[in-house]
């Protein structure tokens, strides 16, 4: 059968994006529609969902304000600390590291992903627990240092767990940086420090924005690390969702929270990308 070139092009496009489109519709779009529908429904007496059209669930959101608030603090603060550690690392990898070892060093960044976050977070429990670091600190005369189940432990766990996700996009944007621009900057009289702030930093902002958005978004749904390293004392939206869907089986209320969370995420991405584009003067932003 003869096909026009246009038809053939459309067929190829369909074949290329078909699988992922099908997968996403089935497991992302449909569930999200379900959640949207649930969020305006009511909790059935025996738990679960029963059809209705009410915004009562959204009106109820303030009841979980603490969890929301905690999450809204944790996500950006965690991302910020991640950034503080990740930027110098990415800078070293992209610009200072000897070219011969660069790929090796970069792959080392991703090595932690080879084991599950759960296992690695458990390891931190032992390191931070009474028989770990505090025990060693007691030996050098610092008794009764409490590390586990503190906000500090949660922050540490978060920075540790999400560091690679922050390093990679920053590394990519720094690695693409044209070193001739730095020569031009030096030629025009800028010292290395000023060149960094005038050229390197602004041009790596798309990477920074990608990393910050990525980590912030993932942190908004995080519940494992606060649960394990924070002792479950501090409640996050992630914890609230687990609780509402699995324990109290209040699906509509859980859905309302989830919908609100997703809206906030979309808002954050949009703002972050707009900002990064404006600063870098380019729309070439790579999500890793």
């Amino acid at each position: 059968m003869a096909m026009t070139i246009a038809t053939r092009k459309r067929l190829v496009t369909a074949l290329l994006i078909g699988p992922s489109a099908a997968w996403l519709s089935l497991f992302l779009v449909l569930p999200f529609i379900a959640i949207l529908v649930f969020s305006v429904g009511e909790r059935a007496p025996e738990g679960g969902y029963q059809a209705a059209f009410t915004f009562a669930q959204f009106m109820n959101l303030p009841a979980r304000a603490t969890a929301f608030w905690n999450t809204m603090i944790l996500a950006p603060v965690g991302a910020f600390f991640c950034l503080l550690v990740a930027y110098p690392t990415a800078y070293y990898l992209a610009i200072k590291a000897p070219a011969r070892y660069r790929m090796l060093l970069v792959s080392l960044v991703v090595v932690p992903f080879w084991t599950s976050l759960l296992v690695r977070t458990y390891a931190w429990i032992f390191i931070l627990g009474a028989r770990g670091l505090p025990n060693l600190l007691a030996l050098i005369g610092l008794p009764d240092v409490r590390l586990l189940n503190t906000p500090g432990a949660v922050l540490l766990g978060i920075v540790y767990g999400y560091l690679p996700l922050m390093i990679m996009p920053i590394y990519v944007s720094l690695e693409k940086l044209d070193c001739r621009l730095l020569e031009a900057s030096a030629d025009l009289g800028a010292s290395p420090v000023r060149s960094f702030f005038n050229v390197t930093l602004p041009l790596s902002l798309p990477g920074v924005a990608t990393g910050v958005a990525l980590v912030t978004i993932l942190l908004l749904g995080e519940y494992l690390i606060p649960q394990l390293l924070g002792g479950g004392k501090v409640f996050f939206i992630g914890n609230a969702l687990v609780d509402l869907f699995l324990q109290s089986r209040n699906w509509p209320y859980g859905s309302a929270i989830a919908v609100t969370l997703v809206s906030v995420v979309v808002l954050i991405i949009t703002l972050a990308m707009r900002l990064a584009w404006r600063f870098a003067g380019t729309r070439q932003v790579d999500l890793v």
Partner: protein, 356 residues
């Protein structure tokens, strides 16, 4: 009078090595103040390395580089009173035209008042005929416009020396010719020393006051363009700058013996094996009747160039010659056809002899 009153840049026995590779070998060069100097050579000859040593992006392995009176070997790039127009412009993509041009002025200490910066940026943009483009983003500009921004960004700082690294290589032919003239008049207006790196001999000859021909990390000739063209210092220069016919000859008292046994009159002191060089335009051909000169051959190709015609002429036992003839009139009969037998003449003054 110290050297710096005459020279803006000086290389003293400068050698640059990268590991085992020597990019520049024992270079001595003094660039006169206010001159337009071209560093000319094939890629890899070390010309860009020289430029980068002046800019401060490379350090010499041996020898000293001077800018004016100051030995700059250990002076970082950002402290040197020179500015560079980079090969691919290296404009800052996150800044608009105005901020690109103002970049250098903003680095100066003590600070320059922003009104003054604005004035000087405006003047520089006017100089490169980009008035009104200040707010444009770099990626919105054409290659030629980017080139001008790069130029403005450098000259706005009033450098002692302007370094230009193949600044016109990325432009199309028409634009390149325009920019060549603009650069020349810019240099005259500013009165500062221009040091231009190029592999394009036409560019070097047409724009500069002095041409420094380089090859394999050494300077082959440093002279005025006409001198370089008319009296190339060696065979490399003769070959690289312009077109040259070469033939191996044996120099004997009073004559040069060609490969086919024919002889040409010669008064020079050289003896033995040598290479004779003649420019295509220093030779002429004529349809040979029965009379044969020492050089008789047959036209193998003709390239018609409008005002000029170039012929390839094969001379048995000697080789192939390229001969360029000026078409003085519009005589329909002046062109010689391939296959015709011709005799070759030349201007004896233009004959150059080099050691074999």
């Amino acid at each position: 009078m110290s050297a710096s009153d005459i020279h803006d840049i000086e290389f003293r026995s400068v050698t640059k090595r990268y590991g085992d590779v020597t990019a520049v070998t024992d270079i001595n060069l003094a660039v006169p103040k206010g001159a337009f100097v071209a560093l000319l050579g094939p890629s890899g000859c070390g010309k860009t390395t020289c430029l980068r040593m002046i800019g401060g992006f490379e350090q010499p392995s041996e020898g000293d580089v001077f800018i004016g009176d100051i030995r700059v070997n250990d002076l970082p790039a950002y402290r040197r009173p020179v500015n560079m127009v980079f090969q691919h412009y290296a404009l800052f993509p996150h800044l608009d035209v105005e901020n690109n041009v103002a970049y250098g002025l903003r680095q100066q200490r003590p600070r320059i008042a922003s009104a003054e910066i604005g004035k000087r940026v405006g003047a520089a943009l006017e100089m490169v005929r980009l008035t009104g483009f200040g707010r444009r983003r770099i990626h919105e500009l054409s290659g030629g416009q980017q080139q001008r921004v790069a130029l403005a960004r450098a000259i706005v700082n009033k450098p002692k020396v302007l370094l230009l690294d193949e600044p016109l290589a990325a432009l199309d032919r028409k634009l390149r010719t325009d920019m060549q003239m603009e650069l020349q008049s810019l240099q005259r207006d500013l009165g500062i020393t221009f040091l231009l790196v190029t592999h394009d001999q036409e560019e070097a000859l047409s724009m500069s006051d002095l041409v420094c021909v380089m090859s394999a990390g050494r300077i082959r000739q440093f002279a005025r363009p006409q001198e370089v063209y008319d009296r190339p210092a060696d065979l490399f220069v003769a070959d690289f700058v312009g077109k040259t016919n070469k033939m191996t000859v044996t120099a004997e008292p009073g004559l040069l013996r060609l490969g086919n046994g024919a002889t040409l009159p010669f008064a020079g002191p050289e003896r033995g094996q040598a290479v004779l060089a003649l420019r295509p335009e220093a030779m002429r051909i004529a349809r040979s009747g029965a009379s044969g000169g020492p050089l008789v051959g047959e036209v193998t190709h003709r390239i018609f160039l409008g005002s000029l015609a170039e012929y390839s002429v094969a001379v048995p036992g000697v080789g192939e010659f390229l001969i360029s003839t000026n078409r003085h009139g519009l005589d329909a009969n002046d062109l010689i056809e391939p296959g015709e037998a011709v005799s070759i003449g030349y201007n004896p003054e233009a004959l150059r002899l080099y050691p074999a």
